[in-house]
């Protein structure tokens, strides 16, 4: 007899550094045979946009697979208030609450199509907390739109993707995360013969960021991720890409001397997560224009 409720206890730290453990927990929810899944957040103390999109999206995946989803709110008041403000409680049903799955918040959003208005709204919200330079605003706008375009062009996601953003005023940084539950970068690139040599997700992730690499053939494509990386390089930001069992983290904190960390996850994530951290007072991609100044056409 199957247990009617499968309780999944989440750890205190809900953040990108704990991605391995969180993805494992979410996979546990996906593969559960129970009719009801309880996301137990009782002991959680901290959360970032990555974890919020992952949890909200995982709940949605469970719902789409016919499960009832509930969550137990964190006892830590600050996090509980944060979840409330950011719209997290609109996803799934709380153990004590009655809200249905009805996502309509700027910060956390379930996207089923390209939504530039969402991107504009996110930038607007971030501007309310931090003094973002015009270059950073426009570069973030470009980055989020390109990520969304990639998701809907390549991932074949059935449940769409989840976006969330946050400003950390004390650190002067902004975080934006987009999580889709699609086929992943490796599977997407393997549909193209010239990328058939790819053996694992880490290789696929690193290839995908190069100029001209795309799963779409015979048309112009493959500039989006290159532009995002150029932005983060001048901004001294960071980007994590998790897809399948691959995890690659680029830290441009030292400018040109990028630190790249590669990991293979024990449990693969069913989709792709892109998490961007940018400095509010840093440069935007076209602030300097040094790369094209001598070569202006218009």
């Amino acid at each position: 007899m199957t247990n009617p409720v499968h309780r999944i206890k989440f750890p205190a730290y809900l953040g990108i550094r704990n991605a391995k453990s969180l993805i494992q927990k979410c996979n546990e929810a996906f593969s559960s045979s129970a009719n009801t899944i309880l996301f137990d957040l009782w002991i959680c103390r901290f959360s970032d946009p990555f974890a919020i999109t992952l949890l909200a999206g995982s709940m949605r995946v469970c719902v789409s697979r016919g499960r009832k989803v509930f969550y137990k709110k964190p006892r830590k008041k600050v996090l509980d208030q944060h979840f409330n403000r950011i719209g997290f409680y609109k996803f799934g049903k709380s153990v004590v609450g009655k809200s249905k799955y009805a996502p309509h918040q700027v910060e956390l959003q379930h996207l089923t199509a390209l939504r530039p208005d969402y991107t504009a709204a996110v930038i607007q919200v971030l501007k309310g907390y931090l003094n973002l330079s015009r270059g950073v605003q426009d570069s973030l706008y470009l980055s989020v739109n390109e990520l969304m375009t990639n998701t809907f062009d390549h991932s074949k996601t059935v449940v769409g993707c989840f976006g969330c953003a946050q400003a950390w005023t004390e650190r002067g940084t902004v975080g934006i995360c987009l999580t889709d539950f699609g086929r992943g970068i490796l599977a997407s690139l393997l549909t193209v013969t010239k990328y058939s040599h790819l053996k694992n997700s880490v290789e696929a992730i690193e290839l995908a960021i190069l100029k001209g690499v795309s799963s779409r053939t015979n048309i112009l494509a493959g500039l989006g991720l290159d532009h995002i990386h150029r932005f983060l390089r001048v901004n001294k930001g960071q980007i994590h890409i998790i897809s399948g069992d691959g995890w690659v983290h680029w830290n441009y904190g030292n400018g040109e001397n990028v630190i790249i960390t590669r990991k293979k996850l024990k449990v693969a994530f069913e989709g792709t997560i892109v998490n961007i951290l940018a400095r509010a007072d840093g440069e935007g991609i076209y602030i300097l224009e040094s790369e094209t100044r001598e070569d202006q056409i218009f």
Binding site: P116, D138, L142, L223, I297, F298
Partner: protein, 111 residues
Amino acid sequence: MSEYILDIRDTCGKNIVTRENGKQVHDIITGKWNEAEKIKIDFGNVLIASVSFIDEIFGKLAFEHTREEIQTKLLIVNIQDFDRALLNDILVSRLRQKELNKAEQQSITSS
């Protein structure tokens, strides 16, 4: 021969992000290329900030025409600084790619 004015806001409305949106503009420009002496593209000071949209219009034109032809034929007005830089960046990048492809082809032919 006359000047043709292409208003991005009137043509695309809010659809200024995807390659499909860009293709619509590219097709109009291509259709008017021989007919009009000058094609004035008015961005209406709307922020585009989309690599896909700009690349589909101007990246494609870079493969179809020379740098001089593009400069002579097109007039870009009311464009935000960020988008102007993005447009230039994409044009330069695709013109370079075209040159590289040509050089590769020539080396294959000569060998």
